[in-house]
């Protein structure tokens, strides 16, 4: 009986002790499990961060030691032991063949180069000991945790668009803004400044791209735009293509055009000085313009009236005066005679020699467009963006770097952009005699209002004015439309067509005083940073100052640091 009683008492105690032990065991195991989870969580975030640090180094030539060091530093910053960290690349030995011996998961993710296009992948694996508290009583001090992360940097597709108008030789000895200049000398010796500085800066930008991964294209523009190097991965050839870029030799219209023409704004067509009625032909319909025909001899220039030798029909000689100029310009339909070429003796009179010299420029084209204008910014934007649209890879980061030393004064025509009506032979430098934009250039100095020439006014940008004619639609409006077509992704108008995700960096070289030059490049950068024209980091920044993705380079020696800055800012987009 006594035994039974005492046994019963002890039983509760035994049960309690046993239960307590079991409970403590579970509590201990649970705490250790919690500790392991916490260690794993912090290791995982450190590995993710290290993978980002490593992939950022991909911007330069992939270099395993620097990537590993970058990853180790992140581990150190996060107070995680970095002794056991492993960084791997798909092709670390750079033989263009996928490395063997990679972890199977990573090997499977790596493209089978050279058959497949390379991808910027980095594998980071790390291990860490998670301390055990309860289990250490049983001799298990710690448990090894390891985790990995694959990060990928998107490849870059970069288009470099350079201005090659004659002013890109403005720093060359012998250049004068007030005289004709032939850049063939400095082109031959590759000494045209600031062109050379721009070329070196562009090549330095290409040097920062990853060979074999990134694509580059080179586009130049003056009167029209040309692709100098098709979007491709051969960076060396791209640099050679840049070396071969020449400054465009502008027809010296403004220097050679008849002085009486020059004296009156709007007296001749700046897009083609031979074409006075703006129909694209040398043949002009003077009766429609002046009410009477210029009294030239029908076929023989030698029999022309003497007073027309300076191609000005003065009121004193019986000429009309519909514009208040005291006369009107007249030129023959069968000769190139809008200019007096001074190297044939600037004599103020037209001679057959003038025609012959002009004919050399025209190269046999009777409707050659004699224009001194050579900044078709819209052309450069359009051709550059098309390079990306046609050759840009899905999943890569699209970047355009755009350099200009002036304001837009030409646009595409129907020949280069099929969307422009064939009737607009002068592109959007349209006009009639004595009217804008037939001043000495077709600059549009009025950044606002913006005009829109879309076939349907529903698709016009907000705050723009719809029109069907040019002017008022100008080459500046055209250039802005090309920017929108390339990179606009957000607009308050749901019907406005959208462009592509494209980062645009713009550089204004020199201190060209045309009012719309800087506002336009700032607009381009504002659209090119986030696809939204209304978010402008330059909105409250003083003129002639770099801001956002717009750079102001008063002198060409600023170009190299600017291109380096752009290279460092072309974010490597992290996709994982």
């Amino acid at each position: 009986m006594n035994y039974s009683r005492s046994s019963s008492k002890g039983q509760i105690l035994v049960i309690f002790v046993v239960t307590l032990m079991v409970l403590l065991l579970f509590v201990g195991l649970a705490l250790d499990a919690g500790s392991v989870y916490v260690t794993y969580g912090s290791l995982k975030r450190a590995v993710d961060s290290a993978a980002l640090a490593a992939i950022n180094e991909f911007k330069r030539d992939p270099d395993l030691p620097s990537m590993t060091a970058a990853a180790e530093e992140v581990f150190n910053l996060m107070n995680v032991d970095f002794a056991n960290i492993e960084v791997l690349l798909c092709d670390a030995d750079k033989d263009n063949i996928r490395d063997t011996g990679l972890p199977p998961i990573f090997y499977a993710r790596c493209p089978n180069t050279p058959t497949e296009a390379p991808r910027k992948l980095v594998w980071v694996e790390a291990q860490q000991k998670a301390p055990l508290y309860f289990l250490s009583l049983m001799g298990f001090e710690s448990i090894n945790l390891h985790t990995n992360s694959i990060s990928e940097a998107a490849p870059l597709d970069v288009v470099i668009v350079l201005d090659t108008s004659e002013s890109m030789a403005s720093g060359t000895p012998g250049y004068s803004a007030n005289a004709a200049f032939n850049p063939s000398g400095c082109n031959g010796s590759n000494t045209c400044q600031p062109m050379v500085d721009a070329k070196e800066a562009a090549k330095a930008l290409i040097d920062t791209l990853a060979d074999g991964y990134d694509q580059v294209s080179v586009v130049t523009y003056d009167k029209t735009a040309r692709v100098e190097f098709l979007l491709g991965t051969d960076l060396l050839s791209a640099k050679i293509a840049i070396d071969l870029i020449n400054v465009h030799d502008d027809v010296p219209v403004v220097f050679n055009v008849w002085s009486k023409w020059w004296a009156h704004p709007g007296v001749y067509n700046p897009v083609n000085s031979e074409d006075l009625d703006g129909d694209g032909e040398d043949q002009d319909d003077f009766p429609a313009m002046y009410g009477m025909d210029c009294p030239f001899h029908p076929s023989n220039p030698a029999l022309d009236p003497e007073h027309l030798s300076d191609r000005w029909w003065d009121v004193a000689d019986g000429g009309p005066d519909p514009y208040g100029w005291g006369g009107v310009p007249c030129d023959r339909d069968d000769r190139f005679d809008s200019m007096d070429w001074d190297w044939n003796g600037y004599d103020g009179k037209w001679t057959q020699e003038d025609h012959d010299t002009a004919a050399l420029w025209a190269g046999g084209d009777p409707d050659y467009k004699f224009t001194g204008l050579s900044t078709c910014i819209g052309c450069g934007v359009r051709v550059g963006a098309n390079q990306l649209r046609n050759g840009g890879r899905f999943g890569s980061v699209w970047v355009m770097v755009f350099l200009s030393d002036g304001a837009a004064n030409l646009s595409d025509t129907h020949d280069t952009n099929i969307d422009i009506p064939a009737a607009m032979v002068n592109g959007f430098c349209g006009g009639t005699m004595g009217q804008p934009f037939w001043t000495t250039s077709c600059f549009d100095d009025n950044f606002t209002p913006r005009f829109c020439i879309d076939s349907n006014s529903n698709t016009c940008p907000p705050l723009s004015t719809h029109t069907t004619v040019s002017p008022p639609y100008s080459v500046l409006d055209y250039a802005r439309d090309m920017v929108d077509e390339a990179a606009l992704t957000r607009s308050a108008n749901p019907n406005e067509p959208r462009g592509n995700e494209l980062a645009i960096y713009t550089i204004r070289l020199g201190s060209m005083s045309v009012g719309s030059a800087e506002p336009f490049l700032r607009y381009m950068a504002a659209v090119g940073d986030d696809g939204d024209r209304t978010t402008d980091p330059c909105a409250s920044v003083a003129a002639n100052t770099s801001c956002g993705q717009y750079y102001n380079a008063p002198t060409s020696d600023r170009l190299l640091p600017i291109f380096e800055d752009i290279a460092s800012r072309i974010y490597t987009r992290l996709t994982q």
């Binding site: 239960t19 989870y37 530093e73 910053l77 996060m78 939204d532 600023r558 380096e564 992290l574």
Partner: protein, 249 residues
Amino acid sequence: MYRLLRRIIRIKKPSRGQSFVELALVLPVLLLLLLGLVEVAFFISRYLDVLDLSREAARFASVRDPFSTGDLDCSTTDNLNFFYDTSCMMSPSSGSATCPNLQYCNGFNHYLSMNLNTDDVVISVFTISGNVISDQLPQPNNYWALSNVDFASNSDLNFTAGPLPDNFKKNCEGNIVRAGPHFTAAQVQSLLLTDAPLNKGYVAVEVYYCHEQVLGIPIVTDLIPNPIQIRAFTIMPLPAAQPTPTQIP
């Protein structure tokens, strides 16, 4: 047989009462252990939440522009405010009843209820050139704290000097326990490695969260402060904060 049975019953009677007493003594201990374990599990779970959210926030920031100064609203994704929108990762999901403020909503946080009077998110950006910290954002305080956003006046006091709420400097009782964030220039500088890339940017996100014990077990709350502060941080590379090669005019 009947005697035996009676004997047993007689014996068992006092024994049963004794067991109840013993059980009554033992059960609180067992319950304390079990519930304590549940409480610890909640704590670890919350800690992992905070840790993961700090990682999420740093990851968000790592691909963005630290100079973006948009509005103080988590829901306007197209108007990026680098610091504020990064801290939004810690806000409750859109439409949640636990949103402390309509402007502080739309985040990833389903489980934690950020108390804007005690909790904090601290973000600092470091620009390192030549392995030396050359710049810090935001100025003038070198850190950005969620508690310094004045929702009442819709203004961000982080860009002003002067006395600021700076919740992160305090413990959950409101006593000042630290002078600055975990990642200061001196701290980061001391952890840089000499063979790592010389020029880089980092963004550090620190979360300070006062965790209220879920069960509030009497003895446990006496032993462990309630609420208890959870701190977690993540630092990630920020290419946009890399130094520029030269000063651009």
